[in-house]
């Protein structure tokens, strides 16, 4: 069986692409890679475009290697990956919208991010002005006796991000859910072109607000890989501290949020208070409740002092005291369990096919965790477990979060105990050249950043949120459930809108 290393021999390896190789291949090898994906030998990490090139990041789980393959497409066409490997579909449709590159043989050629509102087509490729109004978006047809549709969004009833859900319902049962996203597309990757790494890092930190640390971390690591820069140890440890605080805050908020969607508001109140404690400790330690712009390329922008450490320790103590009895309450409440157990089941086969990251994957048997599988510093020096369950229902996704809260508490303790002294920032090379790729474990899964530095500025950057591969799975998980359970399913996935609309 060929490994990713063999693939590199089939094409021309790009110089200064770190830490994993990038190879320019021809369409025959591209087709071969696609078949490897379809046959589950490799996993798809991402697929993205440039004006006349497409790239695919692949993962070989046997060797824990990543490889990027690139195909030149001067005639604006490339062989569809999604035709053989469905997880590529939305990525491919986005490439078509943003760069005007056509995926030959694609099973779905409808636009995805482009709603016909930008005034141009292919804004990041050879932009063409549009003058005529766009035809309405053709939703998939569902037919059958008594089947009706419920259209929800983009403006929802709660305080959440905008997106459109088209439910086809028979009685109370959802027959099909079709998502339409793209409402918060901001052209982030286009804005990064020509930006210096510091400004670009600010943009990366605003891809998804709840994962601002994870994005800052992944972006910084990609810049550092591209410039072959070593980061001071203290900064490395502080980055992990921020990342674990972010995970803790989000998981605490989410557990309460899911319970609230089952009308169990008591737990929302308690978990909301715990989340607030973490945010306040983060504000004391790093000057910002969400720790935005704390991680910068080259290191970290802010040091932690004794007051910050004390605030974090105090927050940990409170959570350790209160969390177990809240978990017990969750586990002992039959009316709540009635809503979460066996609801919104994601089958392990689908989670594996789509490389579902984070709690979505781990609740459905996929034990992938970037912190462990592709361990980056300082995680190789830290002790933690990666919880995995098989049931794949809302309950399992809650329990993965519960276990991860416990792991993060322990990780934060270990980090505070071992925090090395020293400088916080290594200067970036002024005329940085090269390409870098990084994968970092955010709270909802692995965040991938790929970028090319030229003359010290970003020539192209691609940011891939874990939600790309989780949103389609929500469509599958809701099937056969009742409409009233959609909020529970949705919140238990908690996919990012802004992260995929970009």
């Amino acid at each position: 069986m060929p490994s990713l290393i063999d693939l590199n021999l089939e094409g021309q390896q790009v110089q200064r692409h770190r830490p994993w190789p990038r190879t320019v291949i021809d369409s025959a090898v591209w087709g071969f890679a696609t078949r490897q994906l379809a046959e589950r030998r490799w996993s798809l990490l991402s697929l993205w475009g440039e004006p006349a090139m497409v790239h695919m990041a692949l993962f070989d789980s046997r060797s824990a290697e990543i490889g990027v393959v690139s195909l030149e497409c001067p005639d604006k066409h490339f062989p569809s990956v999604a035709a053989h490997h469905p997880p590529a579909q939305r990525l491919e449709r986005s490439i078509q919208d943003l760069f005007g590159l056509v995926a030959d043989g694609a099973t779905d050629s409808r636009p995805w991010l482009d709603h016909g509102q930008w005034g141009v087509r292919a804004p990041q490729g050879e932009a063409v002005a549009i003058t005529a109004p766009e035809p309405p978006y053709p939703f998939l047809k569902v037919e059958g006796e008594g089947v009706h549709q419920a259209a929800v969004g983009p403006v929802h009833a709660g305080i959440i991000e905008p997106g459109h859900f088209r439910f086809s319902v028979s009685g109370e049962t959802v027959v099909r859910l079709e998502q339409r996203l793209g409402y918060v597309h901001k052209g982030t990757e286009a804005l990064m072109i020509g930006a210096d790494p510091i400004r670009a890092a600010r943009l990366a930190g605003r891809v998804s607000g709840d994962s601002t640390v994870a994005y800052g971390f992944a972006f910084a690591r990609a810049v550092e890989a591209a410039s072959d820069l070593a980061v001071p140890p203290r900064a490395v440890w502080l980055r992990a501290l921020c990342a674990e605080l972010e995970r803790l805050a989000n998981h605490l908020g989410d557990i309460g949020g899911i319970c609230n969607d089952a009308a169990f508001a008591l737990l929302l109140a308690h978990f909301g208070a715990l989340r607030e404690i973490v945010l306040r400790a983060a504000a004391t330690a790093f000057g910002h409740r969400l720790m935005r712009d704390v991680i910068v390329p080259g290191g970290i922008a802010r040091d932690i002092d004794d007051a910050g450490k004390a605030a974090i320790r105090a927050a940990l103590a409170t959570i350790r005291r209160q969390f177990p009895e809240l978990v017990e309450l969750y586990d002992d409440t039959a009316s709540l369990q009635d809503r979460t157990v066996s609801t919104g089941v994601l089958k392990p086969e689908l989670a594996a096919q789509y490389c579902a990251g984070g709690f979505v994957g781990r609740a459905s048997g996929r034990g992938f965790d970037t912190r462990r599988t592709l361990a980056y510093p300082p995680y190789q020096d830290l002790r933690f477990e990666v919880p995995v369950l098989q049931q794949g229902d809302v309950n399992a996704r809650i329990w993965i979060r519960i276990r991860e809260v416990e792991q993060s508490l322990s990780l934060i303790d270990q980090i505070l105990d071992q925090l090395p002294r020293g400088p916080l920032l290594a200067p970036l090379p002024v005329q940085g050249q090269g390409e870098g790729v990084a994968l970092v474990e955010g709270f909802r899964g692995d965040v991938l950043v790929w970028l090319r530095l030229r003359d010290g500025v970003i020539a192209r950057c691609h940011l891939r949120d874990p939600s790309w591969f989780q949103w389609p799975l929500l469509e599958a998980a809701i099937e056969g459930n009742i409409v009233a359970d959609f909020p529970l399913c949705n919140k238990s996935f908690n996919c990012s809108y802004s992260g995929v609309d970009l």
Partner: protein, 179 residues
């Protein structure tokens, strides 16, 4: 649950121990917000929130306003599900072109008198997204804005402060009241 509820009978309500200067300020703010809301709007200010392109950071802090520490509902400030029940449209994000129409339609569904609050740095002028092909600009590029609350994202206290400013303006009748 019995255990937890039983405990709550004997435990003091969730509150912050020794109030520092900043906390005293919150208390004062809270009292003023409550008073102003009552004077002008009869114990209620209904807010419809619309994310018109934010990264969700602002939403996280708006959510925090409802946690037991801030608990805005005690002042009669409520987040409502429908624009038809709202006095205030609270808008976040640089308005993306893909959200422009949905935002306009939501605004049109709010009965008058109504006020628009733009929340966060992006909502002012697009923030770091302002020159994008996909962004219309700040909220004021699409709707008449009565108040802007800066921050990336503004912490809950700043949002509370902003709402107070709005209520004060509404109370003296200087805020724009279209429709």
């Amino acid at each position: 649950m019995r255990k937890l509820l039983f405990k709550s009978l004997f435990r003091a309500p969730l509150s912050e121990a020794a109030p520092t200067l900043a906390d005293a300020e919150v208390q004062e703010l809270a009292t003023r917000v409550g008073g102003a809301a009552r004077r002008r709007l009869g114990r209620s200010l209904a807010i419809r929130e619309v994310d018109a392109g934010s990264c969700n950071g602002c939403e996280l802090e708006i959510h925090a306003l409802s946690n037991p520490y801030y608990d805005v509902e005690r002042f009669g400030i409520r987040f409502v599900a429908s624009p038809r029940h709202a006095d205030v449209l609270l808008v976040t994000g640089p308005v993306t072109k893909n959200m422009r129409e949905a935002l306009l339609r939501t605004y049109e569904a709010v009965p008058g008198p109504k006020w628009v609050v733009a929340l966060g740095d992006c909502a002012l002028d697009g923030g770091c997204f302002k020159d994008s092909y996909a962004v219309a600009g700040g909220v004021s590029a699409v709707l008449p804005v009565d108040l802007h609350i800066p921050g990336c994202p503004p912490p809950p206290l700043d949002i509370l402060r902003g709402l107070l400013a709005l209520l004060d303006r509404v109370a003296v009748g200087t805020a724009r009241a279209p429709g």
